[in-house]
């Protein structure tokens, strides 16, 4: 087995976050990192996914407190808004560090 990759500063790579690694969940977190809030429908359109798929993955991120959900009504229509929590922002940062460290480790070979 090869050596574990190290980050630029020389320290070990943080644990690999499987929760955020899944493509749709990574998309949700990335999209929310670029916006203060996004509604359920905006995320669905942006990530080209279905209601069921999005709600399942958003729920997992919510349970991990990576995103926060606020439900309200716009007129008579229910509106679900998501935002990235500080925990979620840190998780995305760690994930980016991990990916960069992997690439760097391959380049250094």
């Amino acid at each position: 087995m090869g050596n574990a990759p190290v980050v630029k500063g020389g320290g070990p790579v943080p644990d690999f976050d499987r929760l955020i690694h899944e493509r749709l969940r990574l998309g949700i977190v990335s999209a929310l990192a670029a916006n203060d809030t996004l509604t359920f429908n905006e995320l669905k359109k942006l990530l080209k996914t279905t209601d069921g798929n999005l709600s399942v993955h958003a729920r997992k991120l919510e349970e991990a407190t990576y995103i926060a959900c606020q439900k309200s009504f716009a007129g008579r229509m229910p509106k679900t808004e998501y935002r990235l929590t500080e925990e979620g922002r840190r998780a995305l940062g760690r994930y980016l560090d991990h990916m960069e460290a992997l690439i760097q480790a391959m380049r250094d070979r």
Binding site: S30, A34, N35, L38, L46, M99, I103, M106
Partner: protein, 204 residues
């Protein structure tokens, strides 16, 4: 006779883990670009552009020929664009937003076509001796740019665009002598009004 098929499918070379990492980083960047909006619209720059329109209106009203009136507004427009460009660059730099990022590119590419059409129509209307229609066309097309470009920016930008479009639509059906007043109300008044709102709500 049936052809001989290998029992095992040919081995596919495994994709390197670093390729996955590169692909993931690309996916994150593209998703953030698609999701992001262009937020570096300069409020105070817009206000300054509006202020420029007021002396230009006064100067334009003193011109005796349509040609001189048109040149006054074109030069005023150039000055306003220069002010806007400096303000945009300053605000984007302050917010660490690249003017070459996806949202900025989409904003520019959507904002530009109506302005190019406006430039071509200006030349056509001037040659056809229809300068009285120019104010309405300018306001309509600038507003259209605001609405189309604003789809990739903060929500107040398309609202401002609609304001310009409404003013342009009214100007088209009013006497040509009122053209300068409509330009002052749009490029002056609306720019100053929305400039202050954008500056106060969206950081300068």
């Amino acid at each position: 006779m049936a052809s001989v098929q290998p029992i095992r499918p040919p081995r596919v070379e495994p994709v390197g883990i670093h390729s996955h990492a590169i692909d993931n980083l690309r996916f994150i960047r593209e998703t953030m670009e698609r999701a992001g909006s262009f937020t570096a619209v300069p409020g105070w720059g817009g206000f300054a552009m509006g202020v420029v329109a007021l002396p230009v209106t006064w100067l334009g009203s003193r011109q005796t020929t349509a040609e001189a009136w048109l040149w006054t507004w074109l030069l005023g427009g150039l000055l306003a664009v220069a002010i806007g460009a400096v303000a945009l660059n300053y605000k984007a730099g302050k917010a660490h937003v690249s003017l070459l990022s996806g949202p900025a590119r989409k904003f520019a590419l959507s904002f530009a076509p109506p302005l190019i059409v406006g430039a071509l129509l200006t030349a056509f209307l001037y040659r056809a001796n229809l300068t009285g229609m120019i104010p309405g066309i300018w306001l309509l097309l600038f507003g259209t740019g605001g609405v189309t470009g604003g789809a990739f920016s903060v929500r107040i930008v398309p609202v401002m665009g609609l304001g310009f479009m409404a003013l342009g639509a009214v100007a088209l059906f009013c006497p040509p002598q009122w053209g300068s007043l409509f330009l002052a109300a749009g490029f002056g008044g609306l720019h100053m009004l929305f400039g202050v709102v954008i500056a106060r709500k969206f950081g300068g």
